[in-house]
């Protein structure tokens, strides 16, 4: 379970000015849920995801994931937490453009010191799942947007994370590719993973596979 307890996050612009990205957010997200966080740009969706992923810390309040106070973790433990629990799909994919598909998907496995055989096995199954195996040796900058996104999803999935966070995953895709992405999410939902998607794409709204929709505006949850 993900508990967001009275979280406020503000960014200091200078000594006197600050921008409040999240205001006193209180949320409980259950294990295995697919949650869509919707809202306009600047509503605080991405900030909320970064707090759940322990990529940043709140200004006030705390985030607890499976009884672990992730917002209180030091950098070292936050990295371990992410490695073991989080798969993150970024809006701009954040792939290493000069590496191949295979190498990009492999990056989360590097710190695990797995045997080569095990790495090959995991990567093969993940590339098959996301239908990207035929491009395994292609440098990612030569891939189309949809293919790059499948690589990004495969990379977020290769560690078998309990939580998958997607930040505006369809922002750079056309409708057909966006629908493909939704099919992938449906596939992942069957595996009882918690999936949190921050988006303002109407394709996600009112869909059966979504368990909850949370609407945000100006850093606050409004519904």
């Amino acid at each position: 379970m993900i508990e967001i307890k009275n979280v406020t996050k503000s960014y200091e612009l200078n000594v006197q000015e600050s921008v409040v990205a999240l205001k006193d957010i209180d949320l409980r997200l259950n294990e295995g849920e697919v949650v869509v966080i919707k809202g306009a740009s600047g509503s605080g969706k991405s900030t909320l995801l970064s707090l759940i992923a322990a990529m940043s810390k709140p200004t006030l309040g705390e985030v607890v994931v499976d009884s672990q106070r992730v917002s209180k973790l030091s950098d070292r433990f936050a990295s371990l937490y992410r490695r073991e629990n989080i798969g993150f799909i970024f809006q701009k994919y954040n792939l290493i453009s000069t590496l191949s598909v295979f190498d990009n998907i492999m990056t989360p496995l590097i710190p695990l010191n797995l045997e080569t055989k095990e790495i090959q096995k995991r990567l093969k199954s993940v590339m098959e799942l996301f239908e990207i195996e035929h491009k395994r040796d292609v440098i990612v900058k030569n891939l189309s947007g949809g293919e790059q996104q499948r690589v990004a999803i495969a990379r977020s999935y290769v560690n078998s994370p309990k939580i998958i966070l997607a930040d505006e995953p369809t922002a750079n895709l056309d409708e057909k590719l966006s629908l493909n992405f939704i099919e992938i999410i449906k596939k992942l939902k069957g595996e009882k993973r918690t999936i949190i998607i921050a988006t303002h794409d109407p394709l996600f709204f009112g869909e059966d596979f979504v368990d909850r929709e949370i609407e945000m505006r100006n850093g606050e949850v409004i519904s």
């Binding site: 709140p58 200004t59 006030l60 309040g61 705390e62 917002s71 209180k72 030091s74 433990f77």
Partner: protein, 319 residues
């Protein structure tokens, strides 16, 4: 007052240390006063950020201080060329009343900063960071020592009078100089060597039985007895002169800078031994410190032993 390029470098770096350490001091005081690991308040999150920043500053200072200490010794040695009477760094140290104190303080600070780094690393191994208050309290004390060091260093360079003639190492460390160190160096060589090798053997025994407090105390003794025997006995074989007792000359090119290697191995060996008494390590971590300590102390012992043995093999006599 001398303003060589080396001294200017030291002044500039000391200024940087002072600037960054003062920021770390301000943050450390806030951390010591308000740290509460369980709090989820704005202040606590801010203190956590301060803690990272301060730790980064201390690591930066230590990373520069280690080579800078060597550079300081090098500077003293270089200054001896322009100070009448001085043959090496010993003459420069003795040229002012601050010299010996600054040297001792620098060595002490090196050990304490290194201890801080180990404590900080150990702290980061735990989710609740149990040593936060302790390490920042230590830093506050370290700041005072660091400022004292910088002030003393400035006073020392400021007080050097190029018109005066100073004593060379041969005079400073000779038994006739009447100083405390000279009387220690005049002790019976057999006694000193028995103590040196005896303490080393006891360190090896304490390692074998993993008696950490004894191991640490013996390492402290080893620093002292090593320095005394290095000047009183082993150094004379490095110089191949029975009357030449100096802890600086073997840092010079003529002796292949061998002194730097000796001092560095002694520092690493004894530091790793000392730290065991002050921090609770896991068995695996303790083992690493034990082994590093023993390895570098052994390296030091073998290195200094090499000189008299080689001298005897070559010449068939002792000095």
């Amino acid at each position: 007052m001398i303003l060589s390029s080396e001294i200017l470098t030291l002044y500039i770096l000391n200024g940087l240390f002072l600037f960054f350490a003062s920021i770390a001091l301000y943050l450390s005081i806030k951390i010591v006063l308000h740290w509460d690991p369980n709090a989820t308040t704005k202040l606590q999150y801010r203190l956590e950020n301060y803690s990272y920043l301060s730790a980064t500053i201390v690591k930066f200072i230590f990373a520069i201080k280690v080579p800078l200490f060597i550079f300081f010794i090098f500077t003293l040695d270089k200054l001896s060329n322009i100070i009448s009477g001085a043959m090496c760094g010993a003459g420069v140290v003795d040229a002012t009343t601050y010299g010996s104190y600054i040297l001792l303080l620098k060595v002490l600070n090196l050990y304490l900063f290194a201890y801080w780094i180990v404590l900080n690393k150990q702290d980061s191994q735990f989710k609740l960071q149990p040593y936060v208050k302790q390490k920042f309290m230590l830093f506050i004390a370290l700041y005072i020592l660091l400022v004292s060091e910088i002030v003393l260093e400035s006073l020392m360079f400021g007080a050097i009078d190029l018109e005066s003639v100073v004593d060379c190492c041969g005079v400073i460390y000779s038994s006739s100089s009447g100083t405390y160190i000279a009387s220690v160096l005049a002790l019976d060589t057999t006694l000193l060597l028995s103590l040196f090798y005896g303490v080393f053997l006891l360190i090896a025994l304490a390692y074998y039985y993993r008696v950490k407090y004894l191991f640490s105390i013996l390492n402290l003794l080893f620093i002292i007895i090593s320095l005394v025997t290095l000047i009183a006995f082993f150094g004379t074989y490095i110089y191949e002169l029975p009357t030449h007792k100096c802890p600086f000359c073997f840092l010079q090119k003529e002796y292949n800078y061998v002194g730097y290697g000796l001092y560095i191995s002694l520092f690493i060996g004894t530091f790793n031994g000392l730290v065991l008494a002050f921090i609770e390590f896991t068995e695996k971590e303790s083992e690493k410190f034990y082994k590093l300590s023993l390895l570098f102390n052994l390296l030091y012992t073998l290195s200094v032993t090499y000189y008299p043995v080689m001298f005897y093999i070559k010449n068939g006599v002792w000095l």
